[in-house]
């Protein structure tokens, strides 16, 4: 892996020329995006630099508890994303914790299994492996869970009459919500299914490209990528299903009522 090419800061500055070009186009066409573009570029550089420093530190310390702490912080940020992306959310504690909790349990479970049985770094919690792996799994699970939950609440709200019609015909709450739970689950699974279908043909995933750029044999890089995709799909499925069912449970009660009043006003 010694044959990767080091980038100088000067190389990065040259890359930024394209952002300047985009900015100029935005000003010329009055898109109003120039300022935003510069801000997000700057943010991206700062965020990644901080991450680099943090990762360097975490890798050197290589402590399981610190690794776990970092993983939890990642969950909090991802959970906030899920929460923010839902147009209608469950009120109170549940709004955040069902999404974040499902994602965390699914992501950690799959990551732990991968670390202890498939990748087996030494020690098994070695942050160089644990954190990027968890991050990739978490990111995809987050997308799936937020789509599924957004879909569930929006659909149940829109189809209130249909759900209540089923309830009135003597169906239980899960029977009545099932057509709409299905829609939500499909929405949650869609991104990972699309990603797998496009893999290698339409898109070369970042992780694999990164490994190839740093001199790893493409065959080895692909093996890693396949494992990552399998893990990601597994975690997404678990996360999407548990988040959707828990939310459906919370949006109904033991008297088989649809409880849209538990959505945030």
């Amino acid at each position: 892996m010694a044959d990767y090419i080091l980038l100088s800061y000067w190389d990065l500055a040259l890359g930024a020329i394209f952002i300047l070009l985009n900015g100029a186009i935005s000003i010329a066409f009055r898109l109003g995006l120039a300022k935003k573009l510069f801000i997000v570029t700057f943010r991206m550089v700062v965020q990644l630099s901080i991450v680099a420093l943090l990762l360097k530190g975490i890798f050197t310390i290589s402590n399981p508890w610190i690794t776990l702490l970092v993983a939890l912080i990642m969950v909090l940020f991802a959970g906030r994303e899920i929460y923010a992306r839902q147009e209608k959310k469950l009120a109170g504690f549940w709004g955040f914790s069902i999404g974040a909790g499902s994602m965390m349990v699914a992501g950690m479970l799959v990551t732990l299994i991968a670390l202890t049985t498939q990748i087996q770094p030494d020690p098994w919690f070695k942050p160089q492996f644990a954190l990027p792996l968890f991050g990739m799994i978490l990111g995809n699970t987050m997308t799936g869970v937020s789509l599924a939950l957004d879909n569930l609440t929006t659909t149940l709200k829109r189809e209130q009459k249909a759900v209540e019609a089923l309830l009135l015909l003597g169906k239980t709450r899960f029977q009545a919500m099932l057509p709409f739970i299905r829609i939500a689950l499909r929405a949650g699974f869609m991104p990972i299914i699309n990603a797998m279908a496009a893999m290698g043909i339409v898109s070369l995933p970042g992780m694999m490209t990164g490994q190839i750029l740093s001199g790893v044999d493409p065959a080895e890089a692909v093996k890693y990528q396949i494992l990552i995709l399998l893990l990601t799909a597994g975690a997404t499925g678990l996360g999407v299903i548990s988040a959707t069912l828990l939310s459906a449970y919370r949006l109904s009660d033991n008297r088989d009522r649809l409880r849209l009043d538990r959505l945030k006003k």
């Binding site: 189809e159 209130q160 009459k161 249909a162 759900v163 209540e164 019609a165 089923l166 309830l167 009135l168 015909l169 003597g170 169906k171 239980t172 029977q175 057509p179 009660d253 033991n254 008297r255 088989d256 009522r257 649809l258 409880r259 009043d261």
Partner: protein, 185 residues
Amino acid sequence: MISGSSGAGKSLFLRAIVDLDVNEGEVFFGDIERNVIAAHIWRSLVAFVPAQTGWWADKVGDHFEQSELVDEILLKVGLPLEVFDWQVSRLSSGEMQRLGLVRALALKPKFLLLDEPTSALDKKTTNMIEVLIKEQLDNGVGIIMISHDDEQVKRLANRSFILENGELKPQKSSRGSKKGGRKNG
């Protein structure tokens, strides 16, 4: 029979009886208190037909478990059997209203809660529905019905009430009394 001005809570009252909204109070059917049995069983015993019918599939037929009973009731409300092949999106409001009633009657409920079951219907069809309602009464099915039509109230009611300021007030005394639904609180 219940009447009262719009927004008085007539529909909410019926929704509360079938336990669709969180509510307080005891509701009995005969000797059975509703909390003693599961909500979905309660609702097939005491069926509520809301003013607007809900649909969850594209085709009308997907909303019914087809049976001879359903066919029979369909004819009684003036709908052809081909209705099952129709698209829900192309139904008129009157057709929806009648199909909602058919769907509930197919459960063979012991008690019916009807929310303005003829509001979207012409005179002739209204008549057919009223015949069907009387038939249910004769079969021993208890009915609480909301209506805005004074003439209809006269034609059908054994007892009539006005819902005002959250209270049911008897409108006039009439023959007999119905067994069944009672609500306190």
